[in-house]
């Protein structure tokens, strides 16, 4: 048992491992994966030449992977090889062509109706013109491929994954309740085995990654911003509401509207509110490849904290229910996420 030189408090074993790397169990540095061989079968080399623009670069990445032999690569290398699917960016070009055609058609009809003297025809010409204008304008707004979102996210999550692996907390994450409307949802991972943490953790004043409290081992652990916190903020902005204002009955519908209609990160969200906790079943939408990559490349993040998509739903629930929630289970199967949450400190009846 070790004690701090300055304050004399006990240092938990898991923190000690950080300072003494030799205390950490040796982890596998390299992973034998056969992704390359599989990609060679699924992504033919000629595919990249069919796609123009930014998509071609992504396909090119796949080709490189496909040409290489199956061998020993590190986890980091596997991260960079994650995105090989070709985005369907051709739709945007078609939309613009259709818009311009409709504008031209509308102008032609308007001119023709003026020449012929059929005033009622100009109404249809105007309709065509307006739809065309809308299509051209909407096309001019930037839109991003799901592959880009995946690529920008994986490195950050990879770092969190490394922190979780190095520190090795195998405890269940606690999503902390938010008190203020502007509070960022936080998630706490206790360092020590902690099957029943106390109801009032009260970590709202903490602004550290590593929270160490030798007096109370329940309060020692990792304090992270929830992976879905930023997505939740965006969802609230799009829906023009704050989940803290919603009741237990309304928040499930709001989560569904936000995730399916506003953010379009899921195809369907089903939630159930029980006395013991909340459970969600989320069906993947356009970001299904990202979810698959996160579950495969950052398994600790996905199972202990929840992937960003699961985490949005959890953060929204925590904000609406205004209680700490323990993430009992987060499973990611093909195209679906299942999340089970339990109230920290007992069921609704016990606490009320």
């Amino acid at each position: 048992m070790l004690y701090c030189d300055q304050c004399g408090k006990r240092i938990p074993d898991s923190i000690n491992k950080l300072e003494h790397p030799e205390a950490v169990e040796p982890r596998e540095e390299s992973l034998l994966i056969r992704t390359a061989a599989r990609l060679a079968e699924t992504v033919p080399p000629s595919r990249s030449s069919d796609v123009a623009g930014p998509s071609a670069r992504v396909a090119g990445l796949g080709d490189t992977t496909a040409k290489s032999e199956a061998g020993t690569i590190t986890r980091g290398q596997e991260m960079h090889r994650a995105s090989v699917d070709v985005p369907s960016s051709m739709l945007g070009g078609r939309q613009r062509v259709l818009g311009v055609s409709l504008v031209a058609f509308g102008v032609l009809i308007a001119v023709a109706s003026a020449v012929v003297g059929a005033a009622s025809l100009s109404g249809l010409g105007l309709a065509s013109f307006l739809i065309g204008l809308l299509l051209v304008y909407l096309h001019s707004r930037p839109s991003f491929a799901p592959e880009l979102v995946e690529a920008s996210l994986l490195s950050s999550l990879g770092n969190v994954e490394r922190i979780l692996r190095e520190l090795g907390p195998t405890t269940k994450a606690i999503y902390l309740k938010t008190i203020d409307r502007l509070d960022v949802p936080m998630v706490f991972l206790p360092m020590e085995e902690n099957p029943a943490p106390p109801a009032g953790l009260n970590l709202s004043g903490e602004d550290r990654l590593l929270v160490i409290d030798s007096d109370d081992s329940h309060r020692t652990g990792l304090l992270l911003e929830a992976p879905g916190a930023s997505l939740l903020a965006l969802m609230e902005k799009e829906l023009d509401l704050n989940f803290i204002d919603l009741g237990n009955e309304d928040f499930l519908n709001a989560i569904r509207s936000g995730m399916v209609e506003s953010l379009e990160v899921a195809a369907d969200v089903k939630g159930a509110f029980t006395q013991d906790g909340v459970s969600f079943r989320i069906r993947d939408g356009p970001l299904r490849n990202m979810s698959r990559s996160i579950a495969r490349l950052t398994p600790n993040v996905a199972s202990q904290l929840g992937c960003p998509i699961c985490s949005v739903a959890i953060c929204a629930a925590v904000k609406a229910i205004k209680r700490d929630l323990i993430l009992e289970e987060a499973t990611h199967q093909s195209g679906t996420h299942s999340v089970t949450l339990r109230f920290n400190g007992g069921s609704t009846d016990e606490t009320s």
Partner: protein, 83 residues
């Protein structure tokens, strides 16, 4: 289908149907067509914008253009009446 695509499709369907209806009713004034299309645009946008506020903000320039067009037709009609 994405929300924006659904919005454009439903608006296109609405103005084609209303345009045909106005044609069947033998309405010849382009201002009436324009006003009906503008109302449909604003109503459908309001329905969609409840899910996505950013769409409403993004389409604000289009709304302004449409409203300027409407103001132009109204001013023209007033001048016609006065003249």
């Amino acid at each position: 289908m994405r929300l924006v695509e659904r919005y454009v499709l439903s608006y296109a369907l609405a103005i084609v149907v209303s345009g045909l209806l106005l044609m069947v009713m033998s309405i010849r004034e382009i201002e009436i067509y324009y006003a009906v299309y503008l109302i449909e645009f604003l109503v459908s946008l309001e329905l969609v914008a409840s899910f996505r506020r950013s769409l409403g903000r993004n389409l604000r320039p289009i709304i302004i253009v449409f409203l300027f067009g409407f103001a132009y037709t109204v001013v023209q009609r007033i001048l016609q009446i006065l003249g």
